[in-house]
């Protein structure tokens, strides 16, 4: 999942004044660019256009009605509520585990890092199933939960749990390599000068990892708002109660209310585009910092 994209600036500059022997003829270049763009148009740009066209085809008023009708509002509210719990929890976890891994030596570190990656490999559908089996009314802890009047599956807590599972790696995956690379000299200096552990974290570590943390949070947020397969199993699809935005879209689509489905989709698409812009911007900043520091 490494998405760091180092130094295209230098390579772009190199292309211009390269001798012919290490460049392709113009027609080859433009054929390659054209093929790549056709491929990306078919798979990325057209789907994006379809959503926006479907959402606004019938006019702003219809769009507005679709996103403000009670069930849509309930789905938006639920999705935001889940994000407010999931993203901070996984951010705290990411910082904690990156601190433990980057600042200390212990056995089993590689195994721990591989375990964090597990949610990327496990199908979201299997994630949902796991929690239905454990916490559902017929599950292992079902009777105990029923006794204490706790409802997790087919209710909001179940949705929160499966999304926590699915988005667990994002912040940790960004921060572990970053903090490993930064080492611990700065923290040691701060502690030697008499600062407390918390103070060191707030004033030394946190500013250093700020952008990595934001990057991880943005990715975690994007995945959390769109989680579908796992939520589909544990939510029970109770309208206005346990339908997140993606589930609401599915319901609308299956009821042939295409315009409404695309209208709600356009909100998530907007958030996805914001995610991409923020992500590209952080990467661009990172690149500039790298090139300026190597130039110095």
């Amino acid at each position: 999942m490494t998405t760091t994209n180092t130094l295209p600036l230098t390579s772009a500059a190199a292309v211009q004044d390269t001798p012919k022997a290490t460049a392709e003829p113009r027609w080859v270049k433009w054929t390659l660019v054209g093929t790549a763009l056709t491929f990306l148009t078919l798979f990325l740009i057209l789907p994006l256009m379809v959503v926006l066209y479907g959402a606004f085809e019938a006019g702003m008023q219809v769009w507005w009605q679709a996103v403000t009708e009670p069930d849509a509002l309930a789905a938006i509210r639920l999705t935001l509520f889940v994000l407010l719990i999931v993203v901070p929890l996984n951010a705290v976890f990411g910082v904690a585990i990156a601190w433990a891994i980057a600042k200390f030596e212990f056995r089993g570190k590689t195994i721990l890092i591989s375990i964090i990656d597990m949610p990327f490999a496990i199908s979201p559908v299997v994630v949902g199933l796991i929690f239905v089996i454990l916490l559902g009314s017929q599950g292992w802890f079902g009777p105990w939960l029923a006794e204490h009047d706790l409802r997790i599956i087919f209710a909001v807590p179940g949705i929160v749990i499966v999304i926590l599972f699915g988005t667990l790696p994002f912040v940790a995956r960004e921060l572990i390599p970053l903090m490993q690379q930064q080492g611990k000299e700065e923290e040691e200096a701060s502690l030697t000068l008499g600062a407390s552990g918390w103070k060191t974290f707030w004033y030394v570590t946190l500013p250093n990892i700020k952008w990595g943390l934001i990057y991880g949070v943005v990715l975690c947020n994007a995945r959390a708002m769109g989680e579908f397969g796992a939520v589909a199993i544990v939510s029970g699809r109770i309208r206005g109660e346990t339908n997140t935005m993606p589930l609401h879209i599915e319901v609308l689509y299956n009821e042939y209310m295409f315009t409404a489905a695309f209208a709600v989709s356009s909100l998530l698409t907007g958030l996805a585009l914001v995610t991409i812009v923020v992500k590209s911007w952080i990467e661009w900043k990172d690149e500039r910092k790298k090139t300026s520091s190597t130039a110095r």
Binding site: L48, K103, L191, P246, A272
Partner: protein, 274 residues
């Protein structure tokens, strides 16, 4: 003197490690182990019957074959996109570069309804295939389309940094020694990006095998023909057949672990080469 030397030991190991391990155990390790234990309660015959039902076997074939084709398409076109983004300048490059991440950022359900609308017989793209008798939506081709879409960023994003870091001098040396451009690409550049390419391929494949949201709309979910394995798990869970669902889930979990090991091995190889 002694206390001063001891002081700068970084605090918080107990707290951060304790919290991390507790969090991982409660959320990840115990639940996954729970699924495995749950299937261990089944008799071998029941387990085997659930995982080898012809309908389920048909779904494995589709899921793995379509993921394989999708990942292969991405290996070819992903490398091409990475090459074009690193080596050439053209208008709109920055925007295109950002858009590659769309399948990571766009919710899969949104992608699903967009793809089916686009590739259905009346859709913007599907209408040009319909007259030739080619049905994309509600066929296996549709499944491949969705799985290609979902795996698109992986190959691009693993190959791109390797290509960007690649030393131009090696290409120049190869050209100076008399190799033509194609030979240089085949013998010098391709071996350098191969570990990254295979890592991206495996990541795209792993993601595709478990994918649900972007596929179910375009596939049409016809039994024995266009049902993917994750769909069968959902169907069984909705009918409260938890044992049947868990048995298939364990098969998918096994496949996921094997792929994870493979990816770790590939990444280790790639880092040793780099």
């Amino acid at each position: 003197m002694r206390t001063a030397a001891l002081k700068p030991v970084i605090p918080g190991f107990g707290l951060t490690m304790g919290f991390s391990v507790l969090y991982l155990s409660l959320l990840l390790i115990i639940p996954v182990a729970g699924l495995i234990l749950f299937t261990l309660q089944m008799s071998w015959e029941d387990f085997w019957r659930a995982v080898s039902h012809p309908q389920v076997v048909a779904s494995y074939k589709l899921s793995f074959l379509a993921s394989f084709i999708g990942a292969s398409i991405n290996a070819v076109f992903g490398t091409l996109v990475a090459w074009v983004l690193v080596r050439y300048r053209f208008p709109g490059k920055r925007i295109i570069d950002g858009l590659v991440d769309l399948p990571f950022a766009l919710p899969t359900a949104v992608a699903g309804i967009a793809l089916v609308t686009l590739y259905a017989g009346t859709g913007w793209v599907g209408q040009y295939f319909e007259p030739f008798g080619i049905r994309i939506a509600y066929s296996q081709i549709g499944v491949v389309i969705a799985l290609t879409y979902i795996g698109l960023p992986f190959v691009v994003r693993t190959v791109q940094p390797v290509l960007a870091d690649f030393e131009k001098e090696l290409e120049e040396a190869s050209a100076a020694l008399g190799a033509n451009r194609l030979t240089t690409i085949r013998r010098v550049i391709f071996p350098a990006i191969l570990p990254a390419l295979l890592t991206g391929y495996a990541l795209a494949f792993a993601r595709a095998v478990g994918e649900y949201g972007s596929v179910i709309f375009i596939s049409g979910n016809l039994p024995y023909r266009t049902e993917i394995t994750p769909l069968l798990i959902v169907a069984k869970a909705e009918q409260y057949d938890y044992h049947g669902a868990a048995a298939i889930g364990v098969v998918m979990l096994g496949a996921a672990f094997i792929l994870l090991l493979l990816i770790n091995g590939l990444q280790w190889w790639a880092s040793r080469r780099g």
